[in-house]
């Protein structure tokens, strides 16, 4: 008979692996840089976090140190992964890799206005 902690840990492992799989599929399937970044970083942030927390829950009866280490790693991922994806997206934008827009709606590139205003201020 499995305990409550083991059930929680197993569920978290399942959720994590599902999200990591979807993230990998998204990198393969999505059309442009930004969509791929979204799949490759948002999904893997949640997937990695729940995988590691799941391991912590599975091992919590063996030693509480596992859980403590897992929480530290989760905090590290919560900081590092969004920051790195932000830096990647910003670098891509600065390299003039604009989002792939099939419709005529120009408003989809909301950052364009901001960056053009910044450029005008710099020129002035």
């Amino acid at each position: 008979m499995s305990t409550l902690f083991e059930i929680i840990g197993g569920a978290l492992l399942l959720i994590g692996s599902a999200f990591l799989f979807l993230g990998g599929l998204g990198i393969f399937r999505m059309p442009d840089v930004y969509n791929r970044l979204q799949a490759g970083t948002k999904a893997t942030t949640l997937g990695g976090m729940s995988l590691i927390l799941g391991v912590g829950f599975l091992m919590v009866e063996t030693s509480w140190m596992w859980m403590a280490k897992a929480v530290i790693i989760v905090i590290f991922i919560a900081f590092s992964n969004p920051i790195s994806s932000h830096a990647l997206a910003r670098a891509m934008y600065k390299r003039k890799q604009y989002p792939l827009i099939t419709s005529k709606d120009e408003n989809m590139d909301a950052y364009k206005e901001i960056s053009e205003n910044e450029k005008k201020e710099e020129d002035a």
């Binding site: 590290f76 900081f79 590092s80 920051i83 932000h86 830096a87 600065k94």
Partner: protein
Amino acid sequence: MKKFLVILILAVLGFHLFAAFSGLGFGVTRFEKGVKDFYLEKTVSELHVANTVTSIVVNFRGFDTLGEVTVLFLAVSAMGGILYKRRHHAGDRSVLFSSSSIVRSGSKLLFPAIILLGVYIFIHGHLSPGGGFQGGAIIATGFLLMLIAYENFSVSHNTLSYIESFAGIFFVVIGLLGFMNGGTFLQNFLPAGILNNLFSGGVIGIIYVMVGFKVAAELTGLIYTILHEKD
């Protein structure tokens, strides 16, 4: 049709690869008694080191590690020499635009954690996977992060070369101390301690700390030279 053919070819290839590799028997002793048994036995019984790879790299074949460290030093020196000539001609540093405030504050938060992880890895080199080279590389990535995030973040080349020289000299001195005490270069002369404790394995821990400092200083200097070509 094409996809079907591809799948068929993959299936045939996979079948044959499996057939070839299934006969190998991983983890089964395929060789007669030799030097590997000596390593496996002496690592635990005499040196009291949990990580066999580390004990081979630093203790049994410590002289090779000294050579590796020297090769790394030579590579970094050559790189510095080449870039030094270019430094006077080329213009700005190679980061194109300044990083955003998110990256700045985030890397300020993460920098101590990265350094701590690197130090942890090279201190526990004889207990867990990793060691001086890996820990040093991780510390260098921490400095790389800071150098990318902050344009005016600077590392003193003099300090780096002092750390590096001191670590290298200490490595050789430990080797010579083994020469005096035990009879051969890099012989273990400290008490072996208890298996799985932090203070175990004699000189292995000390040597790996020195290797960690040396590799970290070398790689940081290399990254700094590449990023600051103007200086």
